[in-house]
């Protein structure tokens, strides 16, 4: 563990609303290794989403530093953060965030059009097993299918890192497992670094490492000696 792709140091995030200060992060230290799949567990409000948003360049830390390779994200301008998201990060969200007016293929092409080194949208859809449904609009797809389109969209630009916030949160166990399998495969085949937030403790078994959050801190970090297959996850 000497070449982290992400390195957060003493990261703090305070939200101020009026007189009240809410500490979302209270000094978090975290390194993510190249090709690693990390699962972030913890109750609502424990800080895991805040950390993911700061790592993805969607939000800014109040203090502390985050390095992506040797670049300090905390020093980035708004424009640089946009560029950073565009070139390096793949996002997957609980509610998919597909564009309803674009077909599955087009939703993927949306991202490949602006990426420096993308794969063909067909190839990305193939990897998540959706090559048959490329011309369907989101409204014509099931929840699991929509999430797999979202994953295809995230991987199509060949990102170094994928950040997934509750990717199975809105899915039942069967479709949830299909989605996890897609993520697993990408991690294995493309060696993409992944951070996955979940409420579902069962998912921890497929990770290389598991971080448990409580009150804005990492309360526990655990290394899986042997990763389970997604199909083995108990829901």
């Amino acid at each position: 563990m000497d070449n982290p792709i992400f390195s957060a140091h003493n990261l703090t995030k305070v939200y101020r609303s009026g007189e009240v200060e809410v500490f979302a992060l209270r000094g978090v230290d975290l390194d993510l290794e190249q090709g690693e799949m990390a699962v972030l567990l913890g109750p609502s409000g424990s800080g895991k989403s805040t950390l993911l948003n700061i790592m993805g360049g969607l939000d800014r830390a109040t203090s502390g530093t985050v390095h992506f390779r040797d670049q300090d994200l905390t020093a980035f301008s708004e424009r640089q953060l946009t560029r950073f998201r565009r070139d390096h990060i793949g996002f997957v969200f609980q509610f998919y965030n597909l564009i309803p007016s674009l077909t599955a293929w087009e939703n993927v092409a949306l991202v490949t059009e602006i990426s420096p080194n993308p794969m063909a949208p067909e190839e990305a859809l193939e990897m998540v097993g959706l090559n048959e449904r490329m011309t369907h609009f989101p409204a014509q797809l099931s929840g699991g299918e929509q999430q797999r389109v979202a994953i295809a969209r995230a991987i199509a630009k060949r990102p170094e890192v994928m950040l997934c916030d509750e990717p199975t949160g809105a899915l039942d166990s069967k479709t949830g497992i299909i989605v996890l399998e897609a993520l697993w495969r990408i991690n294995e085949e493309l060696k993409t670094t992944m951070a996955i937030i979940t409420h579902n403790a069962g998912i921890r078994d497929i990770a290389h490492r598991v971080f448990t959050f409580r009150d804005g801190r990492i309360a526990d970090a655990m290394v899986n000696e042997k990763r389970a297959q997604p199909a083995e996850v108990s829901w």
Partner: protein, 787 residues
């Protein structure tokens, strides 16, 4: 205050910009209703009151000379309630401090007591007294233009002699509300005035003792005009009667009628445009608001609010928007109405002209606007009121799109995905897209309608003043003179070229159609006053027959080769059959021409001249003026050079006012439509746009989705607006057509361009205001929620 009302107020505050944009569009509708109908009523009622109180005549006739003893005979014509036998004479005025001569009309008033018809309103001073020579009362506009007051003096050439006149009072006459000098196209208060003199004094000057040359009479309410006119003609023909006519041939009255007709047309066309657009905007904003509040409505229904209560809640929101529009529109309408009335006061002289604020007018405007707003909101309100609570609480079914614009094969890249997003959204709601484009196109159309008048008037001025009436001045003789008079005029100082003309008043008749007009006799090779064919090329006068303007041809259904009847009004109403030999173009009056020798043959008393048109060396104008002022034979002079300038100035001033008003209206429509449209698109797509930002699209790229969509609608609006503007302008031109003048229909290409440029600029600004919201999108929050 109920909780729902509190919600209503908060909604209004939150949506204030959109509410204001709609209210402003609605305000334009309210303001134009109040302006047009208010101004119409002010003008109509003031005129009517002025006519009644000052006994404006209903039938008029000129004649050469008849004895006053005829009064009883004329007064006993059935249906006549009052009669005045007058002396009316043109005079040339030599005003202090003014080189060019002014033209005046001297009208007699009874020595004692008020006239039976056409009474005078005395603004200041007193009426002239019969014993004192040279005392007169002058009309107010002329007095104001020359800063006259009781005691002011000026010289006049009356019956060949220069006399000094003394002003005793300033008056207004129902006969000269709109006073225009002979040969002028637009009133010039400085160069034309009317003055009134006691009859014995005026008779003494013009050798008209015991005689009169003008009849004005009032009739009973249900009198038969045509019978009175026929009887009057029969009685007056031996005395050189020039044909009796009713008010429709009275210039001042007809001009006001034209103005009133235009106000009516404005009231019928403009307010509906704004009310339609505001209804559409209300529909758009309410549909979106209700879509966002769907679950809240479901909840309210679930806890026991009835459909009626929900419907009333949203109806109230609509009514508050309408109320804001009505208040703003009423204030603006009142302000514009006062301005319009002030403008009228420059052209029309009334003893008083106020913008009438009647409550019912505001009530009508308010009701019409509220109804339009409610009509716009109806569909949205109905859809939510009729939704069962259980369904309302579920999220709406996702929007289904169709795969337009995918370019067939995926690899065929015609549009970027961002463009496809924008275009599919447009096609998904075609009605909304078309209505938005239509609303915007109305702004383009309004602008074209306002701007094209510059083109048409410029064209008209060019045609009238530079191609047909090219003379610098037209000298009219007091009586017809022998052709030798042409040499005398040609010999006047500064005259470069002189062309004599003969003009004779006639009734031109074909079948059962007839018109009173003047036939102008033209020299063989006219250079100053030319006739133009339909292609506006000069044509030589035909050796025989009438050359009639297109308008006269249309009125009388005459074609080349038809034989028309010419009734010579100054030749004992003798009737002559004359063929039509050509149809020519003319924008002013009822133009009919004949070659001078042909006209002389028709009239039958040898060659005579009514006046001379001259081209003048401008450096010697003052000398010419001086000579004319001392030439007894000259009754009037029209100065085309000055007319041209004044015509331009007045028209340009009016058009500038009109264009500013219409530009303001167009800006409000464009802003209302585009801003609301952008806000609603933004609201519908905030989540998508935030997602795009998350994926690494820049603010500029994300904005392009909105801007492409708006741009497509604004672009679509342009050709539609050009077409509508063309049609509107055409109908305006048709509406303006009258015996007095016709405006040629000319729209330059630049007018379309300017209209589009203004609308596109306003649209761009409106869109950029909304675009700033993209910069402020909360990326994190939007990802945590469902639509």
């Amino acid at each position: 205050m109920s909780v729902l009302d509190r919600k209503l107020l908060r909604d209004l505050f939150r949506l204030w910009a959109q509410v204001l944009a709609i209210a402003l569009v609605m305000a334009c509708g309210v303001a134009t209703i109040i302006l047009a109908i208010g101004a119409y009523r002010s003008l109509e009622e003031t005129r009517s009151a002025f006519y009644d109180r000052y006994r404006f005549a209903t039938v008029f006739s000129g004649l050469t000379r008849a004895p006053l003893q005829m009064k009883n005979e004329l007064a006993s014509i059935s249906g006549v309630s009052g009669i005045e036998l007058r002396i009316v004479k043109p005079v040339l005025l030599d005003m202090p401090g003014m080189a060019e001569p002014a033209t005046g009309i001297a009208v007699s008033i009874p020595d004692h007591g008020e006239p039976a018809v056409n009474r005078l309103y005395l603004r200041s001073g007193r009426l002239p007294e019969p014993g004192r020579t040279g005392e007169i009362a002058v009309t107010e506009p002329f007095a104001l233009a020359h800063r006259m007051a009781a005691g002011s003096r000026f010289d006049a050439i009356m019956n060949g002699r220069k006399r000094t006149l003394v002003v005793t009072g300033i008056v207004l006459s129902p006969e000269y509300i709109y006073a225009i000098g002979p040969g002028d196209m637009i009133p010039d208060q400085r160069r034309f005035g009317v003055f009134f003199m006691p009859r014995t004094a005026l008779a003494g000057i013009f050798d008209m003792e015991g005689a009169f040359n003008d009849v004005a009479l009032r009739t009973h309410r249900n009198a038969d005009f045509s019978e009175i006119i026929d009887t009057l003609d029969a009685v007056l023909t031996p005395y050189g009667g020039t044909g009796a006519h009713d008010r429709t041939d009275q210039i001042s009255h007809t001009f006001l009628d034209e103005e009133l007709a235009q106000l009516r047309a404005m009231a019928a066309v403009i307010p509906p445009v704004f009310l339609f657009v505001s209804a559409f905007l209300v529909n758009m904003i309410l549909t979106r608001l209700i879509a966002l509040e769907r679950e809240q409505v479901g909840l309210m229904k679930a806890v026991g609010y009835g459909s009626a209560a929900i419907a009333w809640h949203y109806a109230k929101l609509t009514l508050v928007i309408a109320l804001i529009g009505i208040v703003i529109g009423s204030i603006a309408g009142d302000w514009l109405g006062r301005g319009m009335t002030r403008l009228y006061a420059q052209f029309y002289s009334f003893p008083f002209l106020i913008f009438r604020q009647s409550l019912d007018l505001y009530a009508i405007a308010a009701i019409v606007s509220a109804v339009a707003a409610l009509a716009g909101s109806m569909r949205a309100i109905w859809s939510i009121a009729s939704l069962p609570p259980a369904i309302a609480m579920q999220p709406p079914t996702p929007t289904r799109y169709r795969s337009f614009f995918s370019g067939g094969a995926h690899h065929l890249k015609i549009f970027s995905q961002l463009t496809i997003m924008a275009l599919r959204h447009l096609v998904r709601w075609p009605v909304r897209t078309l209505l938005t484009a239509f609303g915007t196109s109305l702004a383009v159309a309004l602008l074209i309608m306002a701007l094209f008048s510059f083109d048409s008037v410029a064209f008209m001025v060019d045609t009238v003043f530079f191609r047909t009436e090219r003379q610098d001045a037209t000298i009219a003789f007091a009586n017809e003179r022998s052709p030798r008079a042409l040499q005398s005029v040609a010999a006047m100082p500064g005259v470069l070229r002189a062309e004599g003309f003969r003009a004779t008043p006639v009734i031109l008749r074909y079948g059962h159609r007839e018109r009173r007009l003047t036939i102008s006799g033209m020299t063989e090779n006219p250079d100053l006053a030319r006739m133009l064919d339909k292609a506006l090329d000069p044509v030589e006068p035909a050796p025989v027959g009438l050359m009639i303007s297109e308008w006269v041809a249309k009125l009388l259904h005459l074609q080349v080769g038809d034989i028309a009847e010419v009734e010579l009004l100054e030749r004992a109403h003798r009737k002559v059959a004359v063929p039509v030999s050509a149809i020519v173009e003319s924008y002013i009056g009822l133009a009919v021409y004949m070659r001078a020798d042909a006209l002389d043959r028709v009239i039958g008393d040898g060659p005579r001249l009514s006046g001379v048109r001259v081209k003048v060396d401008s450096s010697r104008l003052d000398d010419l003026y001086k000579t004319i002022k001392e030439t007894p034979a000259v009754a009037a002079i029209a100065l085309q050079g000055l007319s041209r300038q004044r015509f331009r100035e007045t028209i340009e001033q009016n058009i500038t006012i009109m264009t500013s008003v219409y530009t303001a209206l167009a800006v409000i429509i464009t802003f209302g439509v585009v801003y609301n449209s952008a806000r609603i698109q933004f609201s519908e797509r905030a989540r998508e746009l935030a997602s795009l930002r998350v994926f690494g699209f820049t603010n500029g790229e994300v904005s392009s989705v909105l801007l492409i969509e708006l741009g497509a609608m604004v672009l679509l609006a342009q050709p539609l607006g050009w077409l509508l503007g063309y049609l509107l302008s055409w109908s305006v031109v048709r509406g303006f057509e009258s015996d007095l003048f016709r405006v040629p229909f000319v729209i330059n290409r630049s007018t379309f361009a300017i209209a589009s440029l203004i609308v596109v600029t306003v649209a761009a600004i409106s869109a950029l205001i909304v675009r700033r919201r993209i910069d402020r999108l909360d990326l994190v929050r939007v990802l945590k929620t469902r639509e």
